[in-house]
């Protein structure tokens, strides 16, 4: 599907580039200061069943695009032209008059439990359609997902980057007093909708990660009274304990890029080291052997390297080593303590938590440690997780004396925003784009 989109986009941009002097294109890497104005009128209902989704679909698309900070909606109240049929001729002057540069025209039909959503994207400035338009069919209960797919396709066509709207985030939902917090594993759409709790709150759970295929989660649970690693099938909700090392507390599990192995930390005898567990065979291998702490591992996307944090130098710093162990190179050398390194999906960057002079930051650096940039600053920011396209980072923020909440920020450092959740949340783990 992704490859198909890429091919589609390539074809589309080649076309636009030859037909127009200034194709509709946002180069995110150059840093967008002025968001691109777009219009998305209510989708056209093509039958009675579709009418209840027509407005809602367009609102989700508008919210998604606006949330990026790269786009700004021209509100429907300002529209001059009305879109009454999917195949209508676009009156470009009417859209130029309201200063829209991109126009999204959609239609929706519902028969039984099946919803069919289609859209076309128009470059208002040059007065032509971009690409061929796409159609999605699915269950009516997945209507938001179809709006996310439209959003991803529009985002991809205009920016040339992969999307991230049709994805989910596993996180920890918190309740109760701080001294006796109840923590439940939960999953939501990336925009904070469709929250579902996955554990009942009887056992403390922390720091989940989603498998590369999005079908499983791995996390640390205190269900035995001591930290242990649990592996959950997200479809059935069934979880099992894995990676037992007698006499050790095991925690901080991460999937390998192929989803077949975990790396995790085991604390015993005053030290914390990294281990690798083959999920198929149960085979376990020790990766580090140091009297210090080694935790918060993260694989490079090619599976060849691991980054992790260790206090072997005296304070917590970020290291990179071969995925099967061996010589670890320290890559963080700035002031303060560095934690929770997470390799970007593109492989070129590592996001981290930094604490220095009483403040916490989410930052990024190249995987060799160069070009460190801090994206946030607050009383307590921690635990970055990458959007599937590597453009956005979600993390947890706790105001002094307040409850933790999930935030997202672009890797440019712009567009910091709170994920709209009504209760405290922490430890976000962003899953892959859904199929």
């Amino acid at each position: 599907m992704t490859r198909f989109f890429t091919a589609l986009m390539a074809a589309c941009f080649a076309l636009v580039a030859t037909a127009s002097a200034q194709p509709l294109r946002l180069q995110i890497t150059e840093g967008v200061i002025e968001p691109m104005p777009f219009a998305v009128p209510a989708f056209v209902p093509e039958d009675g069943g579709g009418s209840q989704y027509a407005e809602a679909l367009s609102r989700v698309v508008a919210a998604n695009l606006s949330s990026t900070g790269l786009f700004r909606e021209v509100p429907p109240a300002a529209h001059i032209a009305r879109i009454t049929s999917f195949g209508t001729n676009i009156s470009y002057p009417d859209w130029r008059a309201v200063n829209a540069q991109a126009l999204i025209v959609g239609a929706v039909a519902a028969s039984g439990n099946t919803l069919t959503v289609k859209f076309r994207l128009f470059d208002v400035v040059s007065g032509q359609q971009m690409g061929q338009g796409l159609q999605f069919a699915g269950s009516t209960q997945d209507w938001r997902r179809m709006a996310h797919k439209v959003s991803d396709a529009v985002y991809s066509q205009i920016t040339g980057e992969g999307g991230y709207f049709d994805s989910r985030v596993v996180f920890v939902a918190e309740s109760g007093p701080r001294t006796n917090r109840v923590k439940r594993l939960a999953i939501m759409d990336q925009d904070g909708e469709n929250i579902r709790t996955l554990t009942d709150g009887r056992s403390l759970v922390i720091a989940p990660r989603v498998s590369p295929a999005g079908d499983r989660a791995v996390y640390t649970t205190y269900q035995t009274g001591s930290p242990r690693i649990a592996l959950m099938d997200l479809r059935s909700g069934q979880a099992q304990l894995v990676g037992e090392i007698p006499g050790a507390m095991t925690f901080s599990p991460r999937f390998s890029p192929d989803g077949r192995a975990l790396v995790f930390s085991a604390a015993m005898g005053g030290t914390t080291d990294l281990f690798r567990l083959e999920l198929g065979t149960g085979q376990m291998v020790r990766l580090t052997n140091s009297p210090a702490i080694a935790t918060a591992p993260s694989f490079s996307p090619d599976g060849r390297s691991l980054t992790f944090e260790s206090d072997r130098s005296g304070t917590s710093q970020i290291y990179v080593m071969p995925a099967n162990g061996g010589n670890a190179q320290r890559i963080s050398f700035g002031q303060g303590r560095y934690s929770t390194p997470v390799w970007s999906p593109r492989g070129d960057m590592i996001a981290f938590t930094k604490s220095h002079a009483g403040r916490f930051h989410i930052g990024v650096m190249r995987s060799d440690g160069s070009e460190e940039r801090l994206l946030t600053a607050s009383f307590l920011d921690e635990g970055p997780t990458w959007a599937p396209n590597g453009r956005v980072i979600m993390f947890a923020r706790e105001a002094q004396g307040g409850d933790p909440a999930l935030y997202a920020v672009d890797i440019s450092g712009r567009n910091l925003r709170r994920v709209p959740l009504s209760s405290p949340a922490s430890d976000p783990a962003w899953g892959p784009l859904l199929p």
Partner: protein, 174 residues
């Protein structure tokens, strides 16, 4: 432990001692023994703190916890003194097993703090073993920053949250 905390603990202890049937959640004076676990609950009397063989005495007179500096698992002189007392009590009361809980304050990341809490608990365990307490009576667990005993986001709370608590329970487990 500062004076206020000490007197608060003492008050709490008196209240407990006056109560014949302590609520299970109060056991351990802030300890989180068994949280989330599925082991069975054993009920035992805390006793009178003036009775040197009582758990109440261990908790209130000897002190059931030691505190650590920021990002450190080194024992302070006060901590050593408390642990020396704990070891003596455990040597004379061999019927009790203990769970040593390591905790961290909130000024660190979640998983690092689990590792840090584990190291603090291990430090206490080593000290007690060195003082003659049998290793098979001691277990450790780390709660990282998940179970602060004080909730404020200020140094006075962080100082008491960076702790290792020796939770006494009846019976040596295998």
């Amino acid at each position: 432990m500062n004076l206020t905390t000490k007197s608060l603990l003492l008050l709490a202890g008196l209240a407990l001692a006056a109560c014949n049937n302590p609520r299970p959640g109060m056991f351990g004076g802030g300890g989180t023994d068994g949280f989330g676990g599925e082991s069975s609950i054993t009920t035992g009397s805390l006793g009178d703190p003036s009775d040197p063989r009582s758990i109440a005495h261990f908790q209130q007179r000897i002190g059931d916890r030691v505190f650590f500096a920021d990002d450190s698992s080194d024992l302070t002189p006060e901590g050593r003194s408390v642990l020396t007392g704990q070891a003596a009590w455990l040597r004379t009361n061999p019927q009790f097993a203990v769970l040593i809980e390591g905790h961290a304050d909130e000024r660190g990341t979640r998983e690092y703090n689990v590792a840090l809490g584990a190291r603090r608990a291990d430090t206490v365990q080593r000290f007690l073993i060195a003082e003659g307490v049998a290793a098979n009576r001691l277990r450790t667990v780390s709660y990282g920053k998940e179970r602060p005993v004080e909730a404020c986001a200020e140094p006075r709370c962080w100082n008491v949250n960076r702790r290792a608590v020796t939770v006494v329970s009846g019976g040596v487990s295998g």
